[in-house]
Symmetry: C2
Subunit: 282 residues, 2 copies
């Protein structure tokens, strides 16, 4: 069975969904996106993702072409028919096709989503530790918008991979902001530290869930600017994203973090996260 | 006759050129572009544009899919067959289609260009003056790459248009860098002042031509950081781009620039520019 896509209201084979060359998503990166995880055929935190999508659309002055409830229903129907049970929904909205001009003209937005299988995430603490490398944060000042203008992230991620690492950590004037495709956390003195969301930090949905879990687990969750030096000396470091959940960091700029194994707090939080996923989706 | 496009080596109607949804240009803004002006069916500064394209490709770690000479020949053949005599070539290269992942995988780049008519630019000094408005420069730090990650530029341009202006001037900590789709110049004390190219300033081709013309005209051309306050008090202000050539600025943030008419140096430079265009293309 060929891979399917929901494309401007129709469901068709992914390979048959074609974009004109003057789609503003292709010429101007004039669009936003979301990646939503589903487990056992059920989405996790779909509502939160669509709320963020709404804010991203506002951030680029694009009216949401579908109401949140409609989008939830369409995604639900799509997954039901999909052979994929464990995976992600990739969803993208662009301002649509218009003769090339920076200036907005009336256009019908392009809306699409499709499912892609993902391997199960290893139980908390059992995966191999990740290797990070610092990259100068040269991105724009509205990283709270989940836009498709991802070239800076792509370049940073590939610089990390070229250096034999898994992920790039953005550092701006000595302060750690986030990673190329994940949020960043350090654990020091029993507290979870992370940069506040804003110009350089996306309001991650996994990050949001974690804030709640930390409250429940009685782990202090502190949002403040943290320096690279402070992070390198932290007891534990981990990163979060929808597809990765929580990934513990073993090495950073070729230095070992903590004792080189998954820290107790990281493991505890990830365990609680996976328990929540199971409760909501099994 | 329908509008044609050169699309991955074939010439076909523009409407028939279709991109897959997983083209990295559509999902990651992973691509670069050029806009090349032609007059009387002849390109102007094509070689300079393709040299910049080569540097942009290097900037995003993409091997140029065609040699410069091939691209020049193909563009030449295309314009020869095109009914458009006065216009621009829009050229875009992306890393091409690949299953969505930040990490580079082997992919065949997407290469395309097409022609679009443009109205003739008014003779030097005869157009209406432009209105500018300042915008905080929130773009990334590699603006010397002419990438399709144009969302920040699009948002700035549309903020300007919403405020009844023609163009947005980026200002970073009080320093004027460039505009959303043009380079920026102030004239003070008989000198032309502009910010050096680099993290926040694209090496504009019209800007490049101007440097040469200023030398010939014996007008000092000074590259240095200039403050917004200094620019607002300048004798003349103008902006340059391939499609616009040289546009004189009448108002900025609702203040009159100079005496509110096109300045003598702007007019002189634009006149020399148009003379050069005529020499090379008529």
């Amino acid at each position: 069975m060929s891979e399917m896509i929901w494309f401007n209201g129709e469901v068709l084979p992914l390979a048959e969904a074609r974009i004109g060359v003057e789609d503003r998503g292709f010429q101007f990166a004039d669009g936003v996106y979301e990646v939503i995880r589903f487990y056992n055929g059920r989405t996790f935190t779909l509502s939160e993702h669509l709320d963020r999508l709404t804010r991203s659309c506002e951030g680029i002055r694009l009216a949401m072409p579908l109401k949140k409830q409609e989008l939830m229903r369409e995604i639900g129907k799509f997954i039901e028919k999909s052979p994929v049970r464990e995976g992600m929904i990739y969803l993208q909205i662009t301002r649509g096709p218009a003769p090339r001009n920076h200036i907005f003209a009336p256009s019908r937005p392009t809306v699409l989503f499709y499912a892609r299988p993902l391997p199960p995430v290893a139980p908390a603490g059992t995966a191999e530790g990740l290797k990070l490398i610092s990259q100068n944060d040269e991105r724009w000042q509205r990283c709270w918008i989940k836009s498709i203008a991802l070239l800076p992230n792509v370049l940073a991620k590939n610089a990390a991979v070229s250096a034999g690492c898994d992920e790039a950590v953005f550092v701006e004037k000595g302060i750690v902001t986030e990673c190329s495709a994940s949020n960043f956390f350090a654990v020091a003195g029993g507290k979870v530290l992370t940069h506040p969301v804003g110009p350089k930090v996306l309001p991650g949905i996994t990050r949001l869930v974690l804030m709640d879990l930390c409250k429940q687990l009685d782990v202090p969750f502190v949002e403040r600017a943290i320096s690279e030096a402070e992070c390198l000396a932290a007891d534990e470091v981990f990163i979060t994203s929808t597809t990765r959940e929580i990934g513990w960091v073993a090495r950073w700029n070729d230095r070992q973090i903590g004792n080189g194994s998954c820290g107790v707090i990281t493991r505890k939080i990830h365990g609680a996260y996976q328990k929540l996923v199971t409760e909501r989706t099994q």
